[in-house]
């Protein structure tokens, strides 16, 4: 394990039940339901969505084999809800692997038995961005747009005038692009052809 959290250190911190709590002579049977225990650090418990980091891109929904993660679309109210249900989850940790923001967090939680399935549901409600021209809701959340703004370099935004077109629906985007190209008729090549690597 890596330096910051050494695996052996983690194992030492793991609250082993028999040795400390019962004394030297551990009985064969675990005293588990009558004491509290922890699972080892690498135990694959149910994952957990961190709503501070989640952008609502749906990468986890694509990756989830048993559809424990589902995106609920509600375009009339301008929201989409990422719902996670531990009752469907097989703990394969694919969602943790594909999450681009690190919002899916692994846990070692194992005490999840319940008498009602309502307790196993986690929902994150995301607000959709809306088109500045026609007022319709887009497919993206405002957090997604903010995240893309942080990823792409500034030159690309300048070159394609992305700032103006980012919050538009597909139709409006096409119209604006055609208008822009007409303005630039004097230029020999359109801008996207010039962007090839090494071409000056």
């Amino acid at each position: 394990m890596a330096e910051s959290v050494s695996y052996t250190e983690k194992l030492k911190a793991w609250n082993r039940k028999e040795v400390e709590k019962i004394g030297e002579k551990a009985p064969v049977t675990t005293p588990y339901p009558f004491i509290d225990i922890e699972k080892p650090p690498e135990y694959r418990g149910i994952p957990h969505i961190n709503p501070e980091k989640c952008v609502g891109c749906g990468a986890c929904v694509n990756a989830c084999p048993p559809d424990a993660l589902i995106m609920e679309w509600d375009k009339e109210h301008g929201v989409k809800r990422l719902t996670y249900n531990a009752a469907r989850c097989i703990r394969c940790a694919r969602c943790i692997e594909v999450c681009p923001t690190g919002a899916m967090e692994p846990t070692t939680r194992f005490e999840i038995a319940t008498n009602s399935k309502e307790d196993l549901v986690e929902v994150v409600e995301h607000r959709l961005a809306y088109c500045e021209e026609c007022g319709e809701y887009l497919d993206f959340t405002e957090r997604q747009i903010e995240y893309v703004k942080n990823i792409l370099p500034k030159e690309i935004f300048d070159m394609y005038a992305l700032e103006d077109r980012m919050k538009l629906t597909q139709d409006a985007k096409m119209r604006v692009t055609v208008e822009k190209l007409r303005e630039l008729e004097g230029v020999e090549y359109p801008a996207y052809l010039l962007a090839k690597r090494g071409d000056e």
Partner: protein, 271 residues
């Protein structure tokens, strides 16, 4: 509700892959010893107070489950669903072989499916398969030894820069750009799994932060990574660290070239 009397259980398989059945066997073994709680597995539903169901309820087993449920004494008639399949249908939820009458074909928020289509269920123990402790916890909760710990969550994610009723958005601070971080994280997947990946990347960030203070970050980072290399005992982490260093500099070069050419084009387009 604590039950003072011993609960006798009847274990029935509703088309499971036998993973959960083996875990039920484990729970009866001397280490976990379910029988000290008064639980006894009996071979006949007429003697049983509780039904342990594993499996996603295939069409063929539907009638058998119903019959076993009706054969049990009318009180207390507890049903325990063991495993993800028995809780919601699991990975088989939309299979042709299953009996699933849920209106949205198991894609509603509660993910209905499994044996709850024919019998009411008192305790869900999800897991694929659930470890013996998980099964013990579920049964201890039925007997009133343990308390319920899970509860549902509903968060409202606020758009960036907004505060109020909900959770605000944060992007963690890092010593390199978000674009590089995402690419590095994705590349690192080739050499380490999900469990070690974030820890290794965090360590690399720390080294990078130290190296960036130096005049010659390339050599300094190489020294730091070599020091890490000598200290670390796990060879997989060593390989991942070297891989990260190489990938980082190749990415920096590549993106640098891109940036240069982009800036040139930007200038020529403006003039």
């Amino acid at each position: 509700m604590a039950r003072l009397k011993s609960v006798w259980v009847y274990h029935v398989d509703a088309g499971s892959c036998n993973g959960c059945d083996i875990e039920v066997l484990d729970v009866i073994s001397p280490y976990y010893d379910l029988e000290r709680l008064g639980i006894k597995v009996v071979p006949n539903p007429r003697h049983a107070d509780a039904l342990l169901i594993t499996g996603p309820l295939t069409r063929q087993t539907r009638i058998g489950i119903r019959k076993a449920y009706e054969a049990m004494p009318p009180k207390p008639r507890i049903v325990v669903a063991i495993g993800t399949c028995a809780s919601s249908g699991g990975i088989f939820y939309n299979s042709y072989a299953l009996y699933n009458t849920s209106p949205e074909r198991g894609r509603d928020r509660l993910r209905s499916g499994g044996p709850e289509m024919v019998v009411p269920i008192d305790m869900y123990i999800p897991g694929c398969p659930p470890s013996p402790e998980e099964i013990l916890y579920g049964i201890a909760q039925l007997l009133g030894i343990k308390e319920k710990k899970m509860h549902g969550e509903y968060w409202k994610a606020l758009p960036p820069g907004e505060e109020g009723d909900g959770v605000s958005f944060t992007i963690p601070e890092r010593p390199l750009s978000l674009r590089l971080w995402i690419t590095l994280r994705d590349e690192l997947r080739r050499v380490v799994g999900y469990y070690d990946r974030d820890a290794v990347l965090d360590d690399f960030m720390k080294l990078l932060e130290q190296a960036q203070k130096d005049e010659n970050p390339r050599e300094r980072l190489h020294d730091l990574v070599t020091g890490y290399f000598l200290k670390e005992k796990d060879s997989r982490v060593k390989v991942a660290m070297r891989f990260l260093e190489e990938t980082y500099w190749s990415l920096v070069d590549e993106y640098g070239e891109w940036g240069e050419s982009l800036r040139k084009i930007g200038k020529s387009a403006r003039t």
